[in-house]
C-alpha cells in the first residue's frame, strides 16, 4: 500500500511517500505563515514530482507543530513517535533517536520492539535548536550551509558559555570584534549546541546505536561535535531532515 506523511515544522514543511516499506520520494519547502497551505503545497509538489495520482495514496498521517492544520490527513501523530518510526524503518537496530529541529530538540529512546519508551524535549528556549544556528549565522554574516565545512577548519574552537540565545549572540559579536576567526567561532557554536543536546539526552539514558535526525543533522560540524561530546558515533541518514514525514508515512501504513 502507498502512504504519505506530512511534517509541518516551524521552519520547513516536509512530505514523504512510501510504498510497502520503500521510500518513493520526499520533498521540503519553507512553511511560511500558512501551515495549511504549506501542507497542501508540499504534498502536491511531491505527487507531481513522483508522477503519481493523489488517489493512489491510501492513507496520510500528519505530524509536527502544524499537524492539526493538515485537514486532508487521516490522523495526526506527534513528532516523537514519527521520528522513532522513521529511524527504525531506516535502521532497525536504533535504540536512541536525537532530533534537532528548527524550534526544538528531543531525544527519544526506543525498545527492541520499536516502541517509544521515553522522550525528553528541550525546555522553552531556542538554545540547542536550528533557530539558534540561524541567529548565529546572521550574526556572523555567513550562510548556514557553509557552517559545517567551515567549522571543520577550526584550530581552537571558541567557548560560548551562555545558555540563552540572545546572550550567546552577543558573546559571538564580542568574539568577532576581538578578531577571533569565523571558523573557531562556528566550531564553538556547534560545541555549545552539542553540550546542550547531550545534557538533555542524558536524562533518558543514551543507548547505542544512536541516530541523529532533523535539519541540523545536515551540519557535519554539529554531528562531529555531538559525537565527540557523547563519545559514540552517530548514524546520520540522507533522509535525516524528512525523518518525521517518513515516520508519519510508516504510521499511516499501520493505521487501520
Amino acid at each position: 500500500m502507498r502512504t504519505a506523511g506530512i511534517d509541518i515544522g516551524s521552519i520547513t514543511a516536509k512530505a514523504a511517500v512510501m510504498e510497502d516499506g520503500m521510500i518513493l520520494g520526499s520533498r521540503i519547502i519553507f512553511t511560511g505563515y500558512n501551515t495549511d497551505l504549506a501542507g497542501r503545497k508540499v504534498f502536491e509538489e511531491l505527487i507531481k514530482e513522483l508522477g503519481i495520482e493523489t488517489a493512489s495514496i491510501g492513507k496520510i498521517v500528519s505530524t509536527g507543530y502544524g499537524r492539526s492544520s493538515v485537514k486532508f490527513a487521516r490522523k495526526t501523530a506527534t513528532e516523537i513517535i514519527c521520528h522513532a518510526a522513521g529511524a527504525l524503518l531506516l535502521d532497525s537496530r536504533v535504540k536512541t533517536v536525537i532530533d534537532i529541529g528548527g524550534q526544538d530538540s528531543k531525544a527519544i529512546s526506543v525498545d527492541g520492539t520499536g516502541k517509544v519508551k521515553n522522550f525528553v524535549m528541550n525546555d522553552k528556549c531556542a538554545a540547542g535548536t536550528g533557530r539558534f544556528l540561524e541567529v548565529m549565522a546572521r550574526a556572523l554574516g555567513s550562510d548556514l550551509d557553509e557552517f559545517g565545512s567551515l567549522s571543520l577548519k577550526a584550530d581552537r574552537p571558541s567557548r560560548i558559555s551562555s545558555l540563552c540565545t540572545v546572550f550567546a549572540e552577543s558573546e559571538v559579536i564580542s568574539l568577532i570584534s576581538k578578531g577571533e576567526t569565523r571558523e573557531n567561532i562556528i566550531a564553538g557554536i556547534h560545541e555549545s549546541i552539542a553540550a546542550r543536546v547531550s545534557a538533555m539526552a542524558a536524562r533518558i539514558g543514551i543507548v547505542s546505536p544512536v541516530m541523529l535526525t532533523g535539519g541540523v543533522a545536515r551540519n557535519i560540524g554539529v554531528v562531529k561535535a555531538l559525537e565527540a561530546k557523547l563519545g559514540i558515533p552517530l548514524i546520520v541518514s540522507q533522509y535525516a531532515q524528512v525523518m518525521g514525514a517518513i515516520g508519519a508515512a510508516v504510521i499511516a501504513s499501520r493505521a487501520v
Partner: protein, 422 residues
C-alpha cells in the same frame, strides 16, 4: 470606604448568608467563598481581626480566637484562575521584584499596592502568621507585608524533616506553639481558650479525613472525581479547615462521589487511562489541560497537591495531647520532607489509584516543589516502570506557558501510554 457603606455591606452579607442558609442546605463553593471573603472585608466593622496565614500554616488557633484567616496563596490561585496573574506579576517586577520570585508572592505583593485582582485586593491584615513548612519564600514575602501594613508577624519555624521527626525538632516546634498562643493573646487582647481549640482541632481533623475520603473515591474505576475537580473543591480545606460548615460541604461531596461510584459515572467519560499529577495546578489552564487529557481518554485521578492537605493525618493521634499532634502534622507535610520520602508518597499513590502514567508540572515559581522532580521521576521509573511527563510552566505567570509545546508533550506522552497498554 465610608462607615455607612461598610454597614450596608455587612447587612447585605448577613442577609445573603441567611438567604442561602434558608434555601439550600448545602452551600455551593462559590457562595461559601464569597461570604468568607465578604466577612473578611467587613471584619473591622464587625470588631473582628484578620490574620494572613500561609497555606500550610497552623490555622486552628486563629479560628479558636475568632480571628478570620486569609490566605494570600488561595488569593494567588484565584488571580491565576482569572488570568490576572501576568499584569500583577509585571507590576511587582516594576516595583523591583525579580521575575524568579514565586508568582503567588509577586501577585500578592503587587495586589496589596494596587488593590487589583478578582476581588479588589485582600482584607487588610491585623497580624501575619508565616509557617515555613512549605518554602523559604514565604518568610521574606511576609516580612515585606508586615512592613507594608505595619502589623505583627509570627514566624512558625518548622525544621526540614529529611527522614524523621527528631526529638530536638519535636521540642523546638512544640515550644513555638506556646509562643504562638502568647502572640495571639497579645494580638487579640484576650486569653486563649484551650477547650475551644480542642474542638476546632477535632473538626479540622474530621475535615481532613473527609477530604481524604473524597479523594479516595478516585481509586474506583472510572474515577468519579479528577484532580482537576479536586483543585476546585480544595479551597475549603485550605481556607476554612477547623470550621464546621466545611464538614457539611465535604460530607455532601463524599456522598455524591460515592453515588457516582455506585452508578459507574466517571469524571472523564469513557476513562481509559489513569494519571497522577504532581505540583500545583496551572491555574489559568486547568480546563484546557483537563480537556486535552480527556480527549485521549485520560483522567488525572489523583495528585500530590490536593492530598497535601490531608497527607499528615498519619501523624495525628487524637489520644495524644493535640498540640503535640499538631506540631508533628504541620512539620511533616509533603514539601518539608526529603526526596525519598516524597517519592515514597508518589509510589503509594500510583499503587493506590492504579496509575498508568505520572505527569509532573515543573513549576518555575515553586522551587521546593519542583526541585527533585527529576530524581522522583527516576525513582518512579525504576520502581514502577510507568512513563513520566515533565511539563514546564508556572502556576500563575502565563508568560511561562507555551501551548503548542505543552500540547505536543501531552500527545506524545499519551501515545506512549496507549502503546504500553495495547
Amino acid at each position: 470606604m465610608t462607615e455607612k457603606l461598610k454597614q450596608i455591606l455587612i447587612f447585605i452579607a448577613a442577609g445573603f448568608k441567611k438567604l442561602v442558609l434558608r434555601f439550600k442546605k448545602r452551600k455551593p463553593m462559590k457562595e461559601i467563598m464569597m461570604i468568607y471573603y465578604m466577612e473578611g472585608k467587613s471584619a473591622r466593622v464587625a470588631g473582628k481581626k484578620v490574620a494572613w496565614i500561609t497555606s500550610g500554616g497552623p490555622v486552628e488557633p486563629l479560628i479558636a480566637m475568632d480571628v478570620i484567616p486569609i490566605y494570600p496563596e488561595n488569593h494567588g490561585a484565584m488571580i491565576g484562575a482569572s488570568k490576572m496573574g501576568v499584569a500583577l506579576c509585571e507590576k511587582a517586577e516594576e516595583m523591583g521584584y525579580s521575575r524568579d520570585l514565586c508568582s503567588y508572592a509577586r501577585a500578592d505583593i503587587a495586589c496589596a499596592v494596587v488593590n487589583g485582582g478578582p476581588i479588589g485586593g485582600l482584607p487588610r491584615p491585623d497580624m501575619l502568621v508565616c509557617c515555613n513548612n512549605i518554602c523559604g519564600t514565604v518568610l521574606k514575602w511576609y516580612e515585606v507585608q508586615a512592613r507594608r501594613f505595619n502589623v505583627p508577624l509570627f514566624i512558625f519555624d518548622t525544621p526540614f524533616c529529611h527522614t524523621e521527626y527528631s526529638e530536638e525538632a519535636k521540642k523546638y516546634v512544640r515550644s513555638q506553639i506556646d509562643e504562638y498562643m502568647v502572640f495571639l493573646e497579645k494580638a487579640c487582647g484576650r486569653k486563649f481558650d484551650s477547650g475551644r481549640m480542642e474542638n476546632i482541632w477535632r473538626w479540622s481533623i474530621e475535615g481532613q479525613k473527609l477530604w481524604q475520603a473524597v479523594l479516595d473515591t478516585a481509586a474506583s474505576r472510572p474515577a468519579p472525581i479528577s484532580a482537576f475537580d479536586a483543585f476546585y473543591h480544595l479551597a475549603l480545606i485550605v481556607s476554612l479547615r477547623g470550621r464546621r460548615d466545611v464538614l457539611d460541604y465535604y460530607s455532601d461531596l463524599l456522598a455524591r462521589m460515592k453515588d457516582r461510584v455506585t452508578r459507574g459515572i466517571g469524571a472523564v467519560p469513557g476513562e481509559k487511562y489513569r494519571l497522577l499529577w504532581d505540583n500545583l495546578p496551572i491555574w489559568y489552564r486547568v480546563r484546557w489541560l483537563s480537556q486535552r487529557f480527556a480527549s485521549h481518554g485520560a483522567c488525572l485521578v489523583a495528585d500530590t497537591y490536593t492530598s497535601a492537605w490531608c497527607g499528615s493525618l498519619k501523624y495525628v493521634d487524637l489520644s495524644r495531647p493535640f498540640f503535640d499532634s499538631m506540631a508533628e502534622a504541620y512539620t511533616r507535610i509533603y514539601l518539608n520532607v526529603g526526596i525519598d520520602e516524597m517519592a515514597r508518597t508518589v509510589i503509594e499513590m500510583i499503587d493506590k489509584y492504579g496509575v498508568d502514567g505520572f505527569v509532573m508540572h515543573s513549576n518555575r515559581s515553586c522551587k521546593p516543589y519542583s526541585l527533585g522532580q527529576y530524581d522522583i521521576q527516576r525513582i518512579v521509573e525504576r520502581e514502577r516502570g510507568i512513563p513520566c511527563l515533565m511539563l514546564e510552566a508556572d502556576m500563575v505567570d502565563e508568560r511561562n506557558f507555551s501551548e503548542s509545546q505543552v500540547a505536543t508533550r501531552i500527545d506524545a506522552f499519551m501515545e506512549i501510554i496507549k502503546q504500553n497498554k495495547k
